[in-house]
Amino acid sequence: MLDWIAIVETLAPELWLVSVGLLGTFAGALVGQRSARIFFKLGAMALFIAAGLAYFHLPGGEAFGGLVVSNPFVNFAKIVSFGLAGVALWIADGFFDRHETLRFEYALLMVFACLGMGITLSAADLMTLYMGVETLSLTSYVLASFHRDSPRSAEAGLKYFVLGALASGLLLYGASLVYGFSGSTSYAAIAEADMGTGMLFGMVLMITGLGFKVSEAPMHVWTPDVYEGSPTPVGAFFSAAPKMAMMVVFANVLFTVFGNAVDDWQLVLAIIAGASMVIGSFGALLQNNIKRLLGYSSIANMGYALVPVAAGADLGAPALLMFMTIYTIASLGMFAGVLMMRRTGGMVEDISELGGLFTNRPIVTLALTAILLSIAGIPPLAGFWAKYAVVEAGLAAGLLPLVILLVIASVVSAAYYLRIIKVMWFDAPKPDFQSPDPSVVATVVACGFLMFPVLLIGIGILGGWTEAAAMGLTN
């Protein structure tokens, strides 16, 4: 007999998403591509509702005999990722319409991708984890190659698929080792097992597999190619929602499954984090394609995000949520900015195309400047608090070398964020972009406004939420 109340409390957003996805598939088959635009808007709304459901069932619960468990920590991540995915879907229709690829499947794929994120987040068992990861990954491969006629998009999808399949294999292999040596696939049971060599081996393989999804070096190589090749709205999605979700999954697995083995994985994470910072920040320096640059920038930022994870659950969990929330909002805003870059003959992606944007569109330029400086972590923008929280967690855990590396990487990355700002403010004006969709402009401005001044002043409130959410992890 199923305990439906527990199931709903644990998996309300996922139940909603799976229903929407299946109904949408039927409806799409019936009405065809004529009303694809409605699918985009309704799909986005369904994602917002899913975020709302996660909020209403924030305390979470346990269902299916412990296969899935949700708590405020993962529900916080669900709210943010579903919300960001919803925005990414909402602003996507104009782009696909102009490319004559406005198909309802896109909206459904986004819904299923979010379903995958939700399941992964709620997983309390290695099998559930793998199922969720694969749901997210398979939909992501299709999304990356959604412009199937474009060689770049197809290349992005294929690259993502081949490397992603390898990473999934590693994850699965690691999971099987962990299962073999602990005798169980349940998080709770594994947490109590002895950490022998076999377990360590499995753990490292799992870190590798999950690290791929959040583009940590040295599993990062797909990121710039996929960001560059995918259709821009897909990039906007990739850079925000799955990053938030998978980073929290990554932390969740380490904190709960291998919580007793902090000493074993701390060094591994520190090395991965340091490598990501260095590769991400130096790699971005010479990029001219803005999407590629953002890809490298996200590698560096995922390196920063690992610092609070390495700091451990007590010190790092709130800082991780804080950092990821602010970073993913900024990142989405930046990609929305890229969505505006359209001239006669299609989208442009070279940084120099932003030349003199300030003359043509002062408000958007201000918003983009706020977003870029926020990602760079310069006060008084919200990103400063993100970096503050990360450094605080790192220092409290005694990870001084990592913090120093973070400081150096931040200065290097400031150089290329400044380069974009320089192009927008100082360079000779280029012709204005063709009228962008109002929803895109609104997203850019809203994200900029969140970076300054909303989150600067309201950081205490966000801090309170992340603290409360992180409490759910330790209890």
């Binding site: 003359t359 310069i378 913090v403 400044l418 801090g463």
Partner: protein
Amino acid sequence: MQGFPILTAMTLMPLAGAFLIMLVRSAIGSGPNETDGSKALTAGLVISIATFLVSVVALTAYRPGVEGYQLVEQVAWYGEVQYKMGVDGLSILLVVLTTLLMPFCFLASYGSVKTRVTEYVVAFLILETFIIGAFCALDLVLFYIFFEAGLIPMFIIIGVWGGKNRIYASFKFFLYTLLGSLFMLAALIYMVIEAGSSDFEILETHAFAPGAQTWLWLAFFASFAVKLPMFPVHTWLPDAHVQAPTAGSVLLAGILLKLGGYGFMRFSLPMFPEASLYFQPFMFTLSVVAIVYASLVAWRQTDMKKLVAYSSVAHMGFVTLGLFSFTEIGLQGAVFQMLSHGLISGALFLIVGVIYDRAHTREIAAFGGLVGKMPVYAVLFMLFTMANVGLPGTSGFVGEILTMIGAFQASTWAAFGAALGVIFSAVYMLTLYRRAVFGQLNPALSEKIDRGEIVMSDVNARELTCLVPLAVGVIILGVKPDLIFDITEGATQRVLTLMAGG
């Protein structure tokens, strides 16, 4: 305790003004092709004068005899971090210096800034907010936010309205300062974790372990040394100055550099007394090297602004010399030197700006014989030259002599080296003055004047309004320095007490 939040009002006033100007920018005529931005400048002028008046009110509300911070405002913010503002004798004077120089920046920009005037005014007003905030903050994180935020408008000011090589200069300025500041950020977060609070008053009395003090001191040093700037990380300054518009240079030299000195006095000395003592010889060495080396480099400059910029580096050397003598007279001298240098260097950049606006060059060799064409200008130039050299009767003298007396009590050699610097400063300033003002009118220049391409008219009413108050200030402070000491006494004594009580 909490009456009207005058410090917050003063800090936010320029920001609110900037916001208002942005809102009505279409009404006051803006855009890339505007020819006359005088309305925007006038709006900026009015707002900055109003801010100045508020700061004067704050100054009168300040009670010099009372120990500790005054006019304190406090609101909880994020975790341990609070929004806490307050002033002591040191910061209130630096705030007044800031608000005082700001109207001159706008006055100096009429006619010389022609593009995007509205944005120019907005950037300056935002910068003013951040500087005032940095001086008033009584919370370490809040201080950092204001301190670091000032980079953004300054970056844009140099990058948009600067000279030919402005982009290089703006990047150099930003990245140099950022690298220094991020180390400070890491250090201050460590302090917050260690002391459990980011409140100045708690941190000042918290005894950090001596080993940790050394590292914290170095991290703060990294930031303030770049800001001040000290040898050998001063190289961003000449570039930034040469490329910045006149008003930007005034602000940079007059106020932004003071943030470094302020930081040393507010953080390094009282919070890490043992480390400060340990690093005293190091600081003396760097100060003396800065004074002598920068003076010699200034002597060989062909660009007037660069010369004044290097002279700033030398004069900031006196500030660190005085601060790290750990004597009351040295500290008093350092504070005085900061204020006096704010007036003098601001005035010197305005002086250079006057002829740059007319002849569109800053090469010393391009001028000569200006005394015949611009007699009033020559007199004012002479006055500020003498003040910069440190002639008795001007404010420059008081600052230099006091810091040297302070240093003498701590180290004879340091004082000896600094005294050499005073001689060199006379060499380079008098050379500049002789070549620009005396002698024959430069043939190329006179040819241009004959052809009517440029008019070397004497200072006009607007420029006089800028220069005369500064001249008066320089002389008043030179004749009656007690005006300053009465206010700063409490603050300097407090620093020394905190150091002793460690």
